[in-house]
Every structure is written in structure tokens, then in C-alpha cells.
Amino acid sequence: MSTRDEIESVEDNGVSLSMNPKKFILWLFIVSIVMIFVSLTSAYIVRQAEGNWKLFELPSIFLYSTIVLLMSSATMHWGYVNAKNDELQKLKIAIGSSLFLGILFLWMQMEGWKELVSNNIFFSFSNPSEAFLYVLTGLHAFHLVSGLIFIIIVLISSFKHNIHAKNLAQYEICLTYWHFLDGLWLYLYIFLMINR
């Protein structure tokens, strides 16, 4: 441990430290991601109100991908319970299955885009209503990839037995981020269903 850390760990008992700074940083990241999607969905509504808006059906697979993503959130949470109880074998299974479900979700999104393309709904050279769908789902998928990378990192630390009842911070941060990505998709899915 470096001298600076030693000094800090002594001073960490001070009153002002209200929250793990890394968790706080994550929440601020989430705020900025929220702002991206808030602005894009507002732009969507504003643009829609101007008329000349093509109507089409969302790919049916999005419903199933939503369920898959919800399941991955559940397995992540199951992992958290296991980590708290020091059930490290089950923890690995939980993280592994979350990773699998996350990748499955991405694959299903791809299938959804293929379905759109086969229905002549394109990103380029198309009505903004079509392009917006790709932007919203694509940007969410991009953030989901960052979440998957995080899950892989957590999976590696679980194999090194670095996640357990007394060392939960990293897992908790990953869990919060993953739940957020899940909630974000739910918001986008419902938003797109309502404002087609």
C-alpha cells in the first residue's frame, strides 16, 4: 500500500465521506447517459410533432429481448446475494449467465434490425422516424457493450476470488450499471411503443 493510501485510509473515517467515491462517479456517469437519451427522445417527440412521420411496427423479437435483458438483471442480482453470502461458486455461475444473457440480448437486437431491414425500414436514405429507431436502439446497444466489458472484468475478478462479502464495491458498481442499462432499455422500448 502506498503511503498516500495509508494516510487516506486513516483519514477516511472523517465525517464528510458520505459515499464510496467510485460509486458516486458511476451515478454521475449514469446522469450524463440519461441526458443523452433524454435529449434524443425529446428530439424524437419534437420531430414527430412536425408531421411527415412514417409509421411501422417494431420488430416482434424486441419483446423477447426485453425479457432476456430482465432475466440478466435478475441473475446479476442473484450473484449479488451469493457474493454477500460468500457462495463464490454460485456467484461465478450468476455472472457467467448474466454475460451469456447480455450477449444473447445483443444478438436478438441484431435479429431485430435484420427484421426491420427486411421490412424496408432503413437507417440511411429514410424517414427520420426510421433513423431514430436505429439511433436509439444502436446507442443503447453501444452502452450495453460497455456494460458487458464491465461484466467480463467482474467475472475475471470472481475467478480470482476477489468478490465476496467483504469486498462488494466493484460488483455493486457493475450491478448498478447493469440495472441502469436494463431500465434504460425498458424506457426506450416503452417509449417507442407509445410514440411510434
Partner: protein
Amino acid sequence: MATVDLQIHSHEVHAHDHHEHHEQSFIRKYIFSEDHKIIAKQFLISGMFWAILGGGMSMLFRLQLGFPDANLDWLKPLLGEWIENGKMNPEFYLALVTMHGTIMVFFVLTAGLSGTFSNFLIPLQIGARDMASGFLNMLSYWFFFASSVIMFVSIFIETGPASGGWVIYPPLSALPQAMSGSGLGMTLWLCSMSLFIVSSLLGSINYITTVINLRTKGMSFLRLPLTIWAFLITAIIGVLSFPVLFSAALLLIFDRSFGTSFYLSEIYIAGEALHNVGGSPVLFQHLFWFLGHPEVYIVLLPALGITSEIIATNSRKPIFGYKAMIGSILGIAFLSFIVWAHHMFVTGMNPFLGSIFMLLTLVIAVPSAVKAFNYIATLWRGNIVFTPAMLFSIGLVSYFISGGLTGLILGNAALDIQLHDTYFVVAHFHLVMGTASFFGMVAGIYHWFPKMFGRMMDARLGYIHFWFTFIGAYLVFFPMHYIGIAGFPRRYYSHTGFDAFSTFTDLNQFISVAAFLTFAVQFLFLFNFIYSIFKGRKASSNPWYSNTLEWTTPVNPGHGNWPGEVPTVYRWPYDYSKVGADDDFIPQNVPLSATLSSNLEHEKDLQKVEQIDISSPNAQ
């Protein structure tokens, strides 16, 4: 296995911090440094580089505006093919204006100002060893650096840098056919700004986390110096508004390169219809100004925070209305998010909507006036020490008032329709946002130079710098009001083509000459800055007799800022000239029990609590 692991994990967690243990190499210490003070200096030097470049560009287009008939062949060695037959290429003029705006708003007054002073002062003034995440802080600088390199490269490409104005309205910026700058130059602009947004977000997130989580013992929110309040709120505005610029830029990138039609609709170029149908250029303006307006306060608030601190210190008086100052910062920040459409009064918006935005805009005058009043009340009957930093802070107050007043005029939808996009607007924002923030930045450099470099800047050169800059900037921007009221539009390459404006030729010449002189004086400052780093008078640890915590560190604070324990805070930062005190200042780390003669009634109660704290064995 699990049980074994429980013992070792604490080492594992800190494994990534191990490098700080060893003597650092030059590269780790000065280049890829995670120390907030080094990162602050990196931002400062980069900001100054950009300021010279951005300022230099304004000299070139002032040359064109002031002397439209002059032969500019002598600039050929510098500008090459952009000078054609002794004249500046009109598209290059537009590129200069665009780059000047982009550089000054983002690279100088956002990165150079917030990046420098938030990084430098937040840990020092709240009593923290460093930022919450040194690594993210380092990333923030290097993202800014990468963004700077791309923007710099874009200046030298053959088709010229982005030229559609710093607001990059589509369709002008979206179609490469529209102007040469909308080709590769615009692509590089968007790449650069995307990296800039990442840098700004990383920085802001770090600032907020540090202020909220890493304050030293006793440093409650109501004991924070106003600088920290300003930096905190600035960072919050940044986290909320920069992602929106990212959205706007992302859709523009798709329109430019991927054939979508978010902002483009039914455009004919050279008789041929483009494929884009259904887009809305006004949508871009909404998204852009949702960042664009808060950005104004991202630029201004840190300068106001710095000024509050400097004025209180050098008036030897407590800041007038500490809580009102915090309230007005919060008020300005809140209002900044709901006034963006006042930039768009002429887009044909619903007049009722226009009235709402007008009302909200005019409400900003209230917190702004509170701030101006509090500055003046702090100065009033103070025991003023006229250091160069103090002069620049007073200068800021002057510019803030004179520039802010025209904001009331421009905020009126009916008046704005006449004045929109004229030099009146240019005069307004250069005074209230450009010059005022620049003065705040320079004041900050003069004031915290001793803490940054352990030496003093030369005060006499500082006075010369101040008076020439103060008078010069007024001479530059004040006449622009008249030209603007007469209807002279901004961004025009030449005014000699219109009879109505030829009467302003001499006024334009006057502005240009004043601008050249003002710009030249800045080199005096630059000389003073560089000379003082190496040869300046050695500073004492508290040269301005200030109360805040950064002055309790050694003259050259090392890694971790305080060699021993971080000081505990017992009072607010503005105990200047307190009745009954031995000195005219009481630093924040002096306990109330040490200043019995000057304690006020409510402090006597606090002091009892404080003593229990100290005497109890469980006290931290």
C-alpha cells in the same frame, strides 16, 4: 479458498495504486501525471496556447474588417494561398471567425479556465489529498489534448477548417457542397468536439465527486469558499448539458456521413434535389442551444467564483451576502437550462413560447444583479489592496455589469428581432462572457501563481497589463453596440459593398487598432508569466494573507498537498477584519478556541462543542 482470500484482498484492491509508492519517472510526474496540480498546469499552458492562437485569428479578421482595401500580400508567408491577389479569401474569413469562436469558448474558457482552476483549487481548498480519481483526471486532460491536436490539424488542411460559425447550424455545416469548410474541416471539428465532450464530462464528474465526498473534517457546505461553489455548480451544468451537445453532434454526423435526414429536408443544390426529406434544421438549434446557453455559464461561473474569492481577500472584508451568492449561483444555473430558445427568436417560433422564454431570460437579471451588488458591497469601504488580481477582478465586475445590461435588451423578443445576428450581439457576449471570463481567468492566474509555481508575478507589469487590457477591451467592444444598432450583421466578410454601412469604416478601423494594441499587451502578460516561473521573486506560503486552506500548504505543495495531517476546518473562509481579532484575517483552520476575543455570540456556543470534540478520547 474464500477464507484465504479474505486476508489478501486489501492488497489486491490497491494494487493499481502501487506505482505512486516509488520515485516517479519524469513521464509519470510531468506528462502522464495523476497529480491534480500538474494536470491543472497542463490545462493552463494548453489554454494559453489556444488563447494566443484564437486571439491571433481575431487579429486577422479585424485586419480585414478595419482595412478592407489594404493589400494583405505581406501575410502570404503565414497564410499562403488564403491570400488571393492581396485579399483574404472570403471562405477563409468565415473559417477564422468559426475557429476563433470554437477555440475561445471551448478550448480557452471551458478547458483552460475550469480545467485549470477546478483542478488546482478544488483539492487544495476543500482539504483533499487529490481528486477522487486521479486516473480519470489524467484521462480528462489527454482526451482534451487529443481533441486539441485534431482541431489544430484541421486548421492546416487544404479545404480549410470548419467555417459555418461556432454554432455549426445545418444545413450549412451538414453539406460538403455548401462551402469548402463543411468538408473534411467539419468532420475533424466534430471528431475533436466529441473528444472534448468526453474530456469535459470526465473532468466534471471528478470535480463533483471530489467536492461532495472528499471534504476535510469540518468543511461543511456552508464553509466552502465561493470558488468551490462556483466550480461545483459549473461541473453540474456540464454533466447535464454536454451530453446534449453530444446528441446534437451525433445526429449531425449521421446526416453528414450516413445519409440520414434528421436536420435536412428538401434541399436543391445546383438544380438537383438531395435525397434528404423530412428533417428539421430547427431541431438542431434546439439541441445545440440546450447546451449552448448553459455553456455560457460554464464559462462565466468559474470566473465569478474566482472573483468572489479575490475581492473578499483583497478588500480585507467578509464577502457580502455569502448565502445570497450561493443562492444566485444556483439560481443562474437552474435558469440557464430553461432559456435556450432566446437564441432562436427569429426561427419563427410561436410568439407565446417566445414570450415565455423572454420572461425566463429576463429573470436571470435578478441573480446576476444580486452578484453584482454583492461584489460592490464587498468593495464598499473595504481596506482595498490593489494587487493585479484584484484589479482584474474589479474589471470583471465592470464588464459583467456593462455587458449584462445589454442582455436585458437582447432578451426582449421584440428588440432581438432587430438586433439578432448584428454586432450588438457580438458586443454583448464579448463583454459579459468573453472579456469578463477572460478577466476572471487572468485574475486567477495572478492570484494563485505563487501557489502554482512558488514565485510571484511582477506586479508592475501586471498593472500595465491591466490598464491597457481594461481600456483596450472597452474600446474594442463598446463601439460595436453602435454598429450593431445600425443593423450591421455579424460574420460578414466585408461591409464596403453596402452604402448603408460605409459610414462605419472609420469606427471599424478604430476597433481594429484598439484590438491590435490590446492583443499586443497580452504578450507582456505572457512574458511576465514565463519569466516569473523561473526568475520571479520567491513567494511566501501565504502572500495575500488569505484564509482558505491552500495557503496552509508549503510554498511548493508536494504530492498529497499537506506533508502532515490535512488541516481541520473550524470556520467559514471569510473572517477578514473581524472585530477583536489580532490580525485582519483568520485562516479556516484556526479553531474558535484560539480566537476567544473575536468570537461572535453564536460562535461561543460552537466553540464549546468544538472543545468537547477535542477533549473526548473518541474524537477523530
